[in-house]
Structure formats: structure tokens, C-alpha cells
């Protein structure tokens, strides 16, 4: 039962990164790829109807994590107190940047909200990458299951590490590039003309960065946490995940050079899902490794809710997800196709 909920929470987080990832990415490239008021309005309209729903995957995943693994929620959220609060501030600023843009006219106001939207999107991507880096590197868990990390110490990977060290910063940059590319491919599928070609160019040069970091981060990561390799050694089907990452990476390059934006976007989604899935597969059954002592690792077993609660939760979770899938299919079908500055909405 704990394993099942581990998979379900991981799926919700992957959904979050793939879906909100493209509107975060659209935010990252917003100031560069969209120059005129018409182009910027086009980007906002491309994500306007869906961004809030995408972000809900983070809230729902957080709620589900709280419900399924309360000890993990308590430990990680209090341990990452400062960066999480900053993520909250960024999420708030970004939401208001998008929503209030439609309520105020005038070039200064629009530049103001565009700037907030873009900067907060970029910082969020970096924070999320650094968060994943922290989970992989491990945190200084104590015997009582709690820890507290300052934002940074000496930027070295070690038992006294802060939230930011060279490894987690690297992962932050990685996430920034990966989501910028993901967002660029999404913007390319939804737009035409100048903005479309700028988005494609962004996807083209970020691809090289992503490919480079994919190849180099693997040995670095395995050096920092060799245990990640154990599950792959034990279960052959785990190798399907790196295969998916590789296929996604190749697909992004190939389909983009053919000018097939949709297929390139799907490849990018597969790539992101593979990267996260691969990390989750390697970590299992640990959910938060301790850098202090492996006995203090938080695992699915020592953090989970009671069995009855987890079973009854499965019933409403499935009902809720069927409904949610329905809303998303309806919404994305309704807003399918290219948008322009004069499209109705936002």
C-alpha cells in the first residue's frame, strides 16, 4: 500500500512538472521570445486558461503527500522552511502577475507584470531543481526525523551543506534550461510567425545545454549517491526509464529539426517524466535520504499514514482523478489550436 502511494504521489509530481513546467517555461522565455504587446498577450493567452489548473497539481500533490506520508511532509517542509517560504512568495507574485495583467491597461503596468511573471517563473524553476538536488544529495536528518537547512553554508556537498551547494545549484540551472526548452516548445505549438520562430530558436540552443547536463550530471549524481544505482541493478525494467529519457532527448532534437512542434513538445514531456521517474525509481523506498547517518533515512515505511486511511483514500483519490482527467481533457480540447493576440480570453 505504501509503495502504491509512493507511485501515485510521484505521478502527481510528474504531472505537475510536465504541465506547470510548460507555463513556467513560457514565463522564462516570455521577455525574450515575445517583444511587442501583441506577442506578450499571445503568450499570456496561450497559458491563460490552463496555468492555474496546472499549478493545482502541486497543491494536490502536496495535499496527497501530507495525507499519505505525514512524517515526510512534516520533516521536509520544516527542514526546507526558508526556501519553501520563498517558493510561496514566488508562486504568489507569479499568479498575480498573470491574473492582474488583464485588469490594468497601459504599457508601464504591462511591463511591470510581465517582468514579475518572467522573473518569478525563472526563479521557481531554479528552486524546484535545487529542491530535487537536495532530495538526491540527502539532508542532515537527526534521530527524531527532523532537520533544518540554512539557505547556504560553504557551497560544498557534505554533512553541513545548505540548501544551495554546487550540486544543487547545478540542478537548479539544469531545471531552468529544461523548463525553458519545454516552455519554448509549448509556445511554438501555440503560436505563429515571429514569436514561433523565436521560441523554436530558444528550444534549439537550450537543447545543447540540456544534452550536456544530462550526460555530465549522471556520473556526478551517482558519485554523490551511489545507492541510486541499486534498484537498477536489481530490476531490469528500471532501464526502460533511461531509455525513455534518451528517446525524449533525441525526439526533441529530431522533431524540432523537422518543424513538428507538437511531437517535440511530447518528447520533452517524456524527457522530463523520465528524469523525475528515474530519480524516484532510484530513491525508492527512501523518500528523503539522511546525509548524517543512513539509519535516519526517511522511507515510505517510517513516514506513512495508517493502513485504513491509505485504503479509504484510494477510493476517493481514484474518483477525484477520473473527474480531474475529465476537466483537463475538456479544457485542453476547448482551447486547442493556435492563439493570437485577438483570441478571446485573458
Amino acid at each position: 500500500m505504501e509503495t502504491l502511494w509512493f507511485i501515485l504521489v510521484a505521478i502527481m509530481l510528474v504531472m505537475y512538472v510536465v504541465l506547470d513546467g510548460f507555463d513556467l517555461g513560457a514565463g522564462i522565455i516570455h521577455l525574450w521570445a515575445a517583444r511587442t504587446e501583441g506577442e506578450r498577450r499571445t503568450v499570456i493567452k496561450a497559458i491563460g486558461p490552463v496555468w492555474d489548473g496546472n499549478e493545482v497539481w502541486l497543491l494536490a500533490a502536496g495535499g496527497t503527500l501530507y495525507f499519505a506520508f505525514p512524517m515526510l511532509y512534516a520533516s521536509s517542509f520544516s527542514g526546507f522552511y526558508l526556501p519553501l517560504m520563498m517558493v510561496l512568495w514566488l508562486l504568489m507574485l507569479r499568479g498575480l502577475g498573470i491574473e492582474f495583467r488583464a485588469h490594468l491597461e497601459g504599457p508601464v503596468w504591462h511591463s511591470f507584470f510581465d517582468g514579475i511573471f518572467s522573473v518569478s517563473s525563472g526563479l521557481l524553476a531554479i528552486f524546484f531543481g535545487a529542491a530535487l538536488g537536495n532530495v538526491i544529495r540527502g539532508v542532515p536528518l537527526q534521530a527524531d526525523g527532523y532537520f533544518f537547512e540554512p539557505l547556504w553554508t560553504n557551497f560544498l556537498v557534505g554533512p553541513n551543506a545548505g540548501v544551495l551547494d554546487w550540486y544543487t545549484v547545478l540542478m537548479g540551472v539544469f531545471a531552468f534550461l529544461a523548463l525553458a526548452s519545454h516552455g519554448a516548445l509549448y509556445v511554438a505549438t501555440k503560436t505563429e510567425g515571429e514569436i514561433n520562430s523565436r521560441a523554436r530558436r530558444t528550444a534549439a540552443w537550450t537543447w545543447w545545454g540540456i544534452a550536456f547536463l544530462t550526460v555530465t550530471s549522471l556520473p556526478i549524481t551517482l558519485n554523490i549517491r551511489p545507492e541510486l544505482y541499486d534498484n537498477y541493478r536489481a530490476h531490469w525494467f528500471g532501464w526502460l526509464i533511461p531509455l525513455m529519457v534518451f528517446a525524449g532527448l533525441v525526439g526533441m532534437f529530431y522533431f524540432r529539426s523537422l518543424g513538428n512542434d507538437k511531437a517535440a513538445f511530447v518528447s520533452s514531456s517524456a524527457y522530463l517524466a523520465g528524469m523525475l521517474g528515474g530519480a524516484a525509481f532510484g530513491l525508492y523506498p527512501t523518500v528523503l535520504p539522511a546525509s548524517t547517518d543512513p539509519r535516519f533515512n526517511l522511507t515510505i515505511h517510517n513516514t506513512a499514514s495508517g493502513h485504513y486511511g491509505l485504503s479509504v483514500g484510494l477510493v476517493w483519490w481514484i474518483i477525484g482523478m477520473v473527474l480531474t482527467t475529465g476537466y483537463f481533457v475538456y479544457l485542453y480540447r476547448l482551447f486547442r489550436g493556435k492563439v493570437t493576440a485577438s483570441t478571446e480570453g485573458y
Binding site: G48, P49, V50, D52, G53, E55, V56, L59, A60, G62, G63, T64, Y66, F67, A68, P70, M71, Y73, A74, S75, S76, F77, S78, F80, Y81, L82, L84, M85, L88, W89, L91, M92, G95, L96, E99, F100, H103, L104, D144, Y146, F147, F148, S305, G306, Y308, G309, V312, G313, W316, W317, G320, M321, L323, Y327, F328, L331, L334, E344, G345, Y346
Partner: protein
């Protein structure tokens, strides 16, 4: 400010109080907008659509602020109240996760369609989006109130070996009687806020001699729903809530009334200042025997005072609890009086000419916000010193490793952000009021 516990409490109190200024309007307005959209369909009168469109824009601004200020609430359970989360997450994780799965997806998916899809969806389609947004916000409200109700009156749990709680009955949690009375009381409060705001905007436009057609719709709907829900709010909803407190948390009742000594035929204090040092009431104005009657339906019944309970179980901020409770009840009573006059004038067809009554309606819109906030302060301060009543004391719920310095850093950050957001909010609302209703879809 050197106590981390105090900082965490202020942190949560500040962020949740600011947050709830927005959902209390959107939950109530959600219902009023559905009523407007229904009237438009039923009477085939486009003025109601114009009215709904105007309120949708006010709704959108409030909703955006409600969403962004709501996200920190869920997160703070983990960041600042980690030991509480570990203790109770096995039970209230259910309601909090269900809120995300059943309410947030629904709201976020259909809000954009409701705000920007009127042309695309047609009359019935647009009615449905309004309804689904309303439904989502009310589902969200239920799961949050159910979580709080469980903290007030914990049910359906078993204790594991490590001390943490596990759910023992799903329906026991969902059907917690406290949850349903508190939910009804809370939602009725939200409708009252929205009704007063709607009537106030209508009164403003009539006094300014602008948009008078629509202003009359606003006033009529606001005054009538406001009156109905103000009456319901006192009886049966507020009365039932009070009786639950009296039976399940008698020490809280004694503190709310500042009843220091156990008394038979206890009087109800209308106004007076509690002196916690000498343990007496200064300058009281009372209704004799009324407290005994309201609590036990008998004029001579004994009501337990604070002296019947050990000192370490008294709510730790008695004056705040006493005042917030009395402010809530006092304002609730005044709402009924004011709206009774307004409904009477409406019935006699004189309301729209009664300038003084329009002024009363215009100036009264802040008070339901105060009453709702005071009500929540009563609920939360009244539960002290417990985080989960009878099971977990507040000082045992905070995160172990967050220093007061780190907590104050983020509290100041939130204060700064909310100040700027509050100013921006007022600016945007003023712009919408200035702009007024649109006849065409914008």
C-alpha cells in the same frame, strides 16, 4: 519576539486572517452570481447577465488573491507546525488532500471559462461554469472547515504506538456533527458578507445617480439574501454552534462569556470589560438569567465558570476571546435590525428613495468582514491552549528546528507582501467600481 512559538502563532494568525478576507467574499458571491445567472435565464432578462458580468470581475480579483494567499496556509502546516502534522496528518491529511483533489481542480479548470468564455459557451454553458465555480469554492470551504472542526472536536481516530493518530472511520470524520454546524455557520457568514458588499455597491451607484437600473438589482438581491441569512445565522446556526461549545468545550464557553465564577441563573453580559487579574466584570450591562437559558434552555440552570476548570486549561488570551465573541454576536444582531428596516422599505417600495437607508447600506459593508473575522478568532482562540482539543497542546505542535529569527524573517516578508497586495487590490477594485458594469461582453 524571542519565543519561536509566539512567532509561529502570529505567522499563522496573520496569514490566515488576511487570506480569509477574500474567500468569504468569493464563496458568498459565487452563490449570488449563480442566482443572478439563474434569474437571467428564468426571466429571460439580459440585465441580470450584465449584473453577473460586473460581479464576475470583482469575483476574479478577489479569487486571485484568495488563491495566492491560500497556498501558504496548506504549506504552513508542514513548515511551522511539523509536530502537529506528524501527530494529526494521518487523519486531517484526508480532508486537506480531498480539498486539493475535489475542489481546487474544479475551481481552477472552470474559473477561466467562467470569466472569459461567455461568448464561446452560450447561455446554458456559461450558467454551468458559474455553478461549477460556486460548487468548487463551497467544497473547498467544507474540507477546510471539516479540518478545523476535527481540531475542535476530534473524532474517528486511533492512536498508534508512536503517539501519532490514524484514521479509524472515514465517514466518522466527514460526518463529524461539529463540522456540519460550523460549515453552515461559516458559509452563511460568507453569504452575508457578499450580500452586504453587493447592496453597498448598489447604494453607492444610486447615491451617485449612475447605473441605477443595475444598482436596484444589486440592492434587492443583497438586502433580501442578506436578511434571510442574517436571521439563519443567529438561529438556528449560531445557537447550535454555541450549544456545541457549551457541551463539548465548557471551559471555552466560560471564557467567551468571561464567566469567572460558576453561577445558577447566570446573566448574559451584553457589554462590559473583563478584568482577568481581579477576575470580575467591569461596567457590565446584563440580561438576567439569559445565559443559563440560552445554554441549557432553563432559566435557573447552572453554568460552569472558569473556576470549575484548572488554570492550565483556560484559553490563554481571555480578553481577545471575550471581545471577538461579543463583537461577532453584537454585529450579527445589528445586521438583522438594519436589514429588517431595509427589507421593510423595499416591500413598501420606498427603499430606493430613502437616502439615509442607502447611506446605512453603503457604510455597513466593512462590518460583516469584521464579524466573520471575529468569529474565526473566537473559534481559534477559544480552542487554546489546545491545537487538537484535549489531545495536543499548541506548544507541542510547532516545528522543532525553526528559530524565532527565521520565523520572524518570513513573517515580516509576508507582511510586506500583503501590504503591497492589499494596496493593489483596493486600487483594482476602485477601478472596477469606477468603470461600472459593461453592457457588452468585454
Amino acid at each position: 519576539m524571542e519565543s519561536a512559538l509566539l512567532v509561529h502563532r502570529l505567522h499563522f494568525a496573520f496569514t490566515v486572517t488576511f487570506h480569509y478576507l477574500f474567500p468569504q467574499l468569493t464563496m458568498g458571491l459565487g452563490l449570488l452570481i449563480v442566482i443572478l445567472k439563474s434569474l437571467a435565464l428564468w426571466k429571460n432578462d439580459d440585465r441580470y447577465n450584465v449584473a453577473a458580468r460586473f460581479w464576475a470581475r470583482i469575483f476574479a480579483i478577489n479569487f486571485a488573491l484568495g488563491v495566492v494567499t491560500g497556498i501558504p496556509m496548506e504549506f504552513q502546516f508542514g513548515t511551522s507546525w511539523a509536530r502537529f502534522s506528524r501527530f494529526a496528518g494521518g487523519v486531517i491529511g484526508q480532508t486537506l488532500a480531498m480539498e486539493g483533489v475535489f475542489a481546487f481542480f474544479l475551481e481552477s479548470s472552470f474559473l477561466g471559462l467562467f470569466l472569459y468564455g461567455e461568448k464561446r459557451l452560450g447561455r446554458w454553458g456559461h450558467w454551468w461554469t458559474a455553478f461549477l465555480v460556486f460548487l468548487g469554492s463551497w467544497i473547498s470551504g467544507f474540507f477546510i472547515v471539516a479540518t478545523d472542526a476535527w481540531m475542535q472536536h476530534p473524532v474517528a481516530y486511533t492512536q498508534a504506538a508512536d503517539g501519532s493518530l490514524a484514521l479509524s472511520s472515514f465517514w466518522g470524520l466527514i460526518l463529524n456533527p461539529w463540522a456540519w454546524w460550523q460549515y453552515a455557520h461559516n458559509m452563511s457568514g460568507a453569504v452575508i458578507t457578499a450580500a452586504f458588499v453587493m447592496a453597498a455597491v448598489g447604494a453607492f451607484y444610486l447615491l451617485e445617480r449612475k447605473h441605477s437600473d443595475l444598482a436596484k438589482i444589486f440592492i434587492r438581491l443583497g438586502v433580501v439574501t442578506g436578511f434571510i441569512f442574517s436571521v439563519l445565522q443567529l438561529f438556528p446556526l449560531g445557537d447550535q454552534q454555541g450549544r456545541l461549545v457549551a457541551h463539548q468545550q465548557p471551559v471555552t464557553l466560560a471564557a467567551m462569556e468571561a464567566l469567572f465564577k460558576t453561577d445558577t441563573a447566570a446573566p448574559l453580559v451584553i457589554i462590559g470589560q473583563p478584568d482577568t487579574v481581579l477576575q470580575k466584570m467591569d461596567n457590565p450591562i446584563v440580561i438576567p438569567k439569559m445565559l443559563s437559558f440560552l445554554t441549557y434552555r432553563r432559566w435557573e440552570a447552572e453554568v460552569k465558570g472558569l473556576d470549575a476548570f484548572p488554570r492550565d486549561q483556560w484559553p490563554d488570551n481571555l480578553p481577545l476571546l471575550y471581545y471577538s465573541y461579543h463583537i461577532m454576536v453584537g454585529l450579527g444582531t445589528l445586521f438583522i435590525a438594519a436589514l429588517l428596516v431595509a427589507v421593510f422599505l423595499l416591500w413598501r417600495g420606498k427603499l430606493f428613495e430613502s437616502k439615509w437607508m442607502l447611506w446605512v447600506l453603503l457604510l455597513s459593508f466593512p462590518f460583516p468582514y469584521i464579524a466573520n473575522t471575529a468569529g474565526w478568532i473566537t473559534a481559534e482562540v477559544g480552542r487554546q491552549p489546545w491545537l487538537v482539543f484535549g489531545l495536543l497542546r499548541t506548544e507541542h505542535g510547532a516545528s522543532p528546528g525553526i528559530s524565532a529569527g527565521n520565523g520572524l524573517f518570513t513573517l515580516l516578508g509576508f507582511m510586506g507582501m500583503y501590504l503591497v497586495m492589499g494596496i493593489l487590490f483596493l486600487f483594482l477594485i476602485r477601478r472596477e467600481l469606477e468603470h461600472g458594469p459593461d453592457i457588452q461582453v468585454r
